[in-house]
């Protein structure tokens, strides 16, 4: 619902063309503006340690938002992102705790996540059900299944391999985790897929006009299936990153991941109507959310007021983006 219904096409269309493939400058400017304000408010904000913390805090939602972007570009929506990711942590955790090989366990759990994506995609493309309902249903099913599997409780996952993504390394004075690097690698790969391959072109085409895509001979259903499948795979990798950050498999974790990831996508300038937007915007969108939360705490804002300020700033962020586009 980002393609603003009331705007005459003349105002947006010229820029839309540029957004596809080319990073949208709007969200980036907003990110920099917020960063500047927070840096002025509290010099600690720019401490390398703090910046690296923000990146780490962005890892999970940032990664899940990659899959969410793909789904939203096809004019779908995924409410099961968090649940699928948690499924991954619990399965990997259970297997390792039962003595299986960590790498195999993780691989299997990524496979299960991919299968969950496949199931969603199958219902959506095969039975032509609305993505909202299918992923909502899967969310309910998984929520229950996760609690049943883990017998209701969270359990710690103490394994070198599963926790590896949380290990840090120094990159020129900057401390990052392997998880952060992996997230960037994922962004780069999926960006390539979206912008440099046929597959990505067809994602945009389907989101733009499923009927046109069908008529020119794009196998729309199979393609949708592949999108949800890839998204599921990404959520599986997200599970590994989540275990690196929190070595704990908790059936109740990530409850707000669906809304959070959609928020990152929308702040990043991708339209909920599909076919318009891009992945770099999403990364920036996820960072904006992380920067807001961190910056407001550093500014010493009471947590009660933080929600309020965040609410205002999210609107301001998108308004600024919108404004920069109209001028652009």
């Amino acid at each position: 619902m980002s393609a603003v219904p009331v705007s005459p096409p003349e105002k947006t269309s010229g820029v839309m063309a540029k957004i596809i493939g080319v990073p949208s400058a709007g969200p980036l400017l907003v990110l920099l503006a917020f960063g500047l304000i927070f840096a002025i408010t509290n010099p600690r904000f720019l401490a390398t340690h703090n910046l690296s913390i923000i990146l780490q805090q962005t890892v999970i939602i940032g990664t899940l938002a990659i899959g969410q972007t793909l789904v939203i570009l096809t004019a779908g929506i995924d409410l099961a992102v968090g649940a699928i990711c948690v499924l991954g942590t619990i399965i990997a955790g259970k297997l390792v705790t039962s003595g299986y090989d960590p790498a195999l366990s993780m691989a299997f759990s990524v496979l299960v996540c991919t299968a969950a994506g496949f199931a969603a995609g199958g219902l959506i493309s095969g039975l032509r059900l609305p993505p909202f309902i299918v992923t909502l249903g899967i969310l309910g099913i998984l929520t229950a299944a996760l609690r049943l599997i883990s017998a209701g409780g969270a359990f710690p996952v103490r394994d070198e391999f599963l926790g590896w993504t949380g290990n840090t390394l120094r990159l020129g004075g900057f401390i990052v985790t392997y998880g952060v690097l992996l997230m960037f690698v994922l962004y780069a790969l999926v960006w390539y897929l979206l912008n440099e391959t046929k597959w990505g072109r067809h994602v945009y085409a389907i989101g733009n006009s499923p009927e046109a895509a069908r008529l020119v001979g794009i196998p729309v259903r199979r393609h949708l299936l592949s999108v949800y499948l890839l998204a599921g795979f990404i959520y599986g990798i997200g599970a590994w990153l989540a275990l690196g950050r929190i070595p704990n498999a908790d059936p109740n974790a990530l409850q707000t991941a669906n809304l959070d990831s959609i928020t990152a996508v929308v702040i990043g300038g991708t339209s909920l109507f599909g076919g318009r937007g891009g992945l770099i915007g999403t990364l920036i969108g996820a960072l904006i959310v992380g920067v807001l939360r961190n910056g407001l705490t550093l500014a010493g804002i009471d947590p009660l007021w933080q929600d309020l300020v965040t609410g205002i700033l999210v609107i301001v962020a998108v308004a600024l983006d919108q404004l920069s586009r109209r001028k652009g």
Partner: protein
């Protein structure tokens, strides 16, 4: 008004015990439900459990009680989200001849229900705070508050209790900042990280529960501060007690959801059989668990804690 409540001599198999917890999200309530299930099975009763969807889901709890009355429950065990919201429906249930017992959280007024089996959460908070203050010794305290959900009854009791036990008031400059964790580990971690970025001298951390404490510990560790900070919590889940044993959490205050649940189920079964109702407030107790006891504060060690903890 009692047309739909089956009275008379019901055999034990017919007894339906309703359990309405706050959420399915919190392991505390999950364990409570599991304990109630086990107890009901043992007593040959049938347990139907329901929960709100989130902290504060009054509507969900009201609907659950209504459905349980419809289902013919003999008694309902309730951990009210917000007791004032439940008063009407509790009255309706009791008018229909259903025994209503509050678990974990008392209602306001307390005599709205037949009986209350609960911990005193304020007292538990005081225990946590008093220990933390004492254990800090003569260091100047700089406190971070990792709260649950603002406005929740239990959340407020624990928070206020901690401050009382710690000997400071709301707004004291010793409080370096607060974060909302919703009792979740990931949000606990993020909140702690950001608070540490803001003030690296924090040396005491209040946590609403053990998952939040686990998140806080991870953050402290990544800042290399895990040894210098007095991290305390409340709950008494086995995972939490293990964290105390491992030295991650300095102390936690144990509560007894199993006991509350089992007592509740027993009372309903008894009521079904004999018509006898329990009454009043039964404090199921809370104990400070730590391996580093301090003078003047009663505590038990983790060996005892692991024997009596809930979960696993």
């Amino acid at each position: 008004a009692v047309s739909f409540a089956f009275t008379g001599q019901a055999s034990a198999e017919d007894v339906i015990v309703g359990l309405v917890t706050k959420t399915e999200v919190n392991p505390f309530f999950v364990k409570m439900r599991q304990a109630a299930e086990a107890q009901a099975k043992e007593k040959g009763a049938k347990l139907i459990a329901r929960a709100g969807k989130f902290d504060g889901d009054n509507e969900g709890q009201v609907a659950a009680i209504e459905d349980l009355i419809s289902a013919g429950a003999k008694g309902i065990l309730l951990t009210p989200n917000n007791s004032s919201g439940m008063l009407n429906i509790i009255k309706k249930a009791r008018d229909a001849g259903v025994l209503v017992i509050a678990l974990d959280t008392a209602t306001d007024p307390a005599d709205a229900v037949d009986a209350t089996f609960a911990t005193d959460n304020f007292e538990a908070g005081v225990q946590q705070g008093a220990y933390a203050r004492k254990a800090l010794g003569d260091k100047t305290p700089i406190v971070a508050m990792l709260d649950g959900t603002p406005g929740g009854t239990v959340d407020t009791f624990r928070h206020d209790g901690y401050l009382k036990g710690f000997g400071i008031a709301e707004g004291d400059p010793a409080i370096a900042g607060a974060a909302i964790t919703n009792g979740a580990q990931d949000k606990g971690q993020i909140g702690m990280e950001n608070l540490l970025s803001k003030n690296g001298d924090i040396n005491a951390v209040y946590t609403i529960n053990e998952p939040a404490a686990a998140g806080a510990y991870a953050a402290l560790k990544s800042f290399g501060k895990e040894a210098d900070v007095m991290l305390t919590s409340i709950d008494g889940g086995c995972a939490g007690v293990r964290d105390v044993k491992d030295g991650k959490i300095a102390a936690t205050v144990m509560q007894f959801p199993y006991k509350m649940a089992a007592m509740g189920v027993d009372a309903v079964v008894e009521y079904a059989a004999t018509g006898k109702k329990p009454s009043g407030f039964v404090n199921t107790g809370s104990f400070l668990i730590t391996d580093k006891p301090v003078d003047g504060i009663e505590s038990k060690d983790t060996a005892w804690g692991l024997k009596n903890c809930w979960g696993d």
